[in-house]
Amino acid sequence: MRFRYAIIALALLFSVYMLIHPPEGDESRGFADYKENIKDNINLGLDLKGGIFMQLEVDIVDAVNQFLEEQAGTIKASLENEGFAIATSTANLQKKMVVLEGVTSSKHSDIEGEISKYYRGNWSINQKGPNVELKLKENARLNVENNAVEQTVYKIQSRVDELGVTEPVINRMTGSNRIVVELAGADDVTRVHRIVAEPGKLEWRMNAKNPATRQPISAASTEQQLLAPLGGQVPPGKRIFPYTDERTGAKSFMLLEGVMMTASNVADVYPSTDEQGMPAVGITLDAEGGETFATQSAQNVNNQLAIVLDGEIISAPAIRSRLSNRFIISGSFTQDEVQDMVVKIKSGSLPAEVRILEERVIGPTLGRDAISSGVKASVFGLLLVVIFILAYYRRAGVYALMALILNLIFILGMLAGIGAVLTLPGIAGFILTIGMAVDANVLVFERIREELRAGTAPKNAVEVGYRTAFVTIMDANITTFLAAFFLLLMGEGPIKGFAIMLMIGIVSSIFTAVFCSHTFFLGYIKRKTTLSKLSIWPVWQGSNS
């Protein structure tokens, strides 16, 4: 018996602790602020908290098409650099290939073989007379699609800060081209639209030079230090940007010139290698960009360049020599770092169209109303159930009730403990559980009544009642659990909260109804040395049936 009480007490303690403990990292609160703590410990869904939920789809067909169009241009340009003459280069979107027409070369005799040298990684190459077809390989296509989704995720992640949202959720749905965006507390739909559907702002700026000495101004750890050689003033046309070195985490400030190029000047960004075969980021600029960059790089040898995405410097490579429209950024990068940088630089242009499949904007007041009406309905529903159970089962009803109240505390405790999300349908599930939770006790009590009618002694009747009803309770609840499980599969959003609530409710109801109320009953039987009658009959039927 002691053991049983100890388990109940432990479960209760755990649930209460989970509910009222002060949130981590907030030193100002103690257990006395339990009201505030409960609010923070129960994770409210967007539909209760207010905010913006979006389900996005990245158009991967469009991503591949854009990639092909882009490649048609860059492949031609690169091959011409290598001594080929090419009449036209077109993308065949249907067949996922780039078709080069009228390919000749005075330098190379084996045209197909020579082109293969450069492109066999991603393309299968096939020469048909003067034409060469480069067909995008299956895994290369998957790569392009995958990158498009990753870039979109990255772009949203890096720009969502401007909304001032505390805990933004931007998740790619595993293995798909869908992205779920949850921005609690956000209210500006227009801006969120822009963030998800417009490209990032990519700027190429040159590190500023001191006008007096014509020497580059080196980065400094504070703004004051940075501006010291300039007399503490930001010169006109220049701007200060914070720079965080990704590897060391060191923070500094750089003074940059005005915008030299934007994303529209970048024709292609791809993982490449440097002379030593180390991973590097390859960049191809368009004609205009190439021209600008050639002059600028010539004037800035040994100066630094900064690539700024949405106001943040993502890379600041040094310029070693005059550069043309094709160059690489190297710096003992790992393969992952290169991939990461490619994604970042590319997010300045839209890799593919993003469609908003589903959009929910929940205002600030809806949730509060729903919670207060949910609490009201819970209390009122509970009251009805209480009155009925007490009248119908009397003392046994009291035990059922204690079990029910424990049940509600356990459910909320588990909800807080596993960090599940409470949604509006979840509130409905909670109220529903109040009604359903007594079911297991009802099953038991009806069994006990039957045993008593058959003349079994009260003590045995209780034992038999709990034992035989157990199988039924399990069977009935497992099937309900199955139904709840399929609700989980219905997709993202509030319904998930309902399903989880139902599942938690089932587990907790079984425990409280089978174990806890049994314990209370046992305690009562133990206290009474002689027990000839059991108070389990409806009030309108007298003390016996």
């Binding site: 205002g363 009406s373 009935a476 139904a483």
Partner: protein, 491 residues
Amino acid sequence: MKHYDFLAKRKVCGFLSIVLVILSIAYIATIGIKFNVDFEGGTKMTVAFEDPDLSIQTVREAVEKYEPKATIVEEQAEGVSRFSLKIKKPDVEAGNENEASLTRRRNLETAFAGITSGDAELISKLKAVEPGVLASKFQTENIYGLVDKDEVIAQTYRTLAGNVVSNAATAATLKDLAAASDQANADKLETAITNVIYPALNHITTDAFGAALAKYDPLKRGNNGSYKDIAAQMDATRSANHDFIKSFDVLDFSSTVAAGEDAGVLKTFIQDNFVLSTYRIVSNETFSPSIAAELLSNAESAIFMSLLCILIYVAIRFDGNYAVASVVALAHDVVISLGVFAVAGTLWGVELSNPVVAAFLTIVGYSLNDTIVVFDRIRDNRSDMKNPDLVKLTNTSINQTLSRTLVTSLTTFFVVAVIYWGSNNATLEDFAFPLLIGIIVGTYSSIFVASPVFLYMTERKVLQKLGKILGGIYRTVTLANKGEDKSRSKA
């Protein structure tokens, strides 16, 4: 304890059930179930107005100018008037959905703003503002998302701010003002002014309000200062006034600000940088047609898969006869509930949505709960008795569990009824309505459908016969194949 002969009436009940199921299917097939926007595609919006006496006619007229397809229903609300709008399957060009949904929202906002005070509040603010102040706000927020040399950007916004302030003197609506100030970007400018430059206190979420204050830091709390306390105070004031702040005068931060901070400065800042607005969009949901179709098929397969799994579970725990009987009872419940739901749709406009499907799956779970309890007792009693009269035994089992069935149904019905009649929340009501139907139908079916079907299956040995037939087919087919093989091998 009374003993009822439930099975005596099983033919009548069976007939009744079959008729109801056929009627339901016929009704659904011909007239159909009404779908909500999440299963059909479109926009659903709930909007509240400060004026509690606003008539639905006024709202309808204002909305029809922009969205003739919208259907509007008035909702119950205390101290304010609240309406829900639905625009199903809007005419949108493919590929233009994102922009269309924004435009729709913007149009509706314009319509709502026009209903009461119009844009007067906003325009009077723009008239009074210093152009330089406005320009720097434009630039800080970079409302057009410009990418250019900094001085070029600054110049663009200076010109724009000058235009806006000078046009504010004559413009009647924000739309006109935006068009007059920047023809090419009128739409962008219009939304930027309402959402970014002068957000409405009655629309803004608490978090967004706190973030906006933190950005401009009127109390000089420094980089790490949070304005959560101020935001919470604003929200408390708002909710104490039926969620509408009717005048800046009701805002009182004197007890919220820390020592040494000036509540007056804060209030002036809020007054200068926010408007009040006489309406609020409570919620707004948009579903593209493709996701709607997918949600619907997900819902269908969830119901189907759960039925299948339950069939398998019951077949393992009990046997095939029980399994078939319980699934028949379940299908019966779902079909009739859907039928009643469809009729309610015709009568009162109730629509099938995601929460409703969740409710139906719950019906599946709980109706089964009842059935399993009865079956469990039948199984128990069968193993106790040597020579059972199955009909009598089944009837006894139903009687033994009757009290429990009724008590559980009753308590569940209580709380669901409380949700339906007492919650005053559209989503919760949507959810409770099918549950109410389901509990009634489910209780009936566990007594009058599941057990009779079980009896029929067991007495007539339906499964054995079916098994024989299938076995026969199997044997014939394999024999025929073998024959073929033989004839082939001979040849």
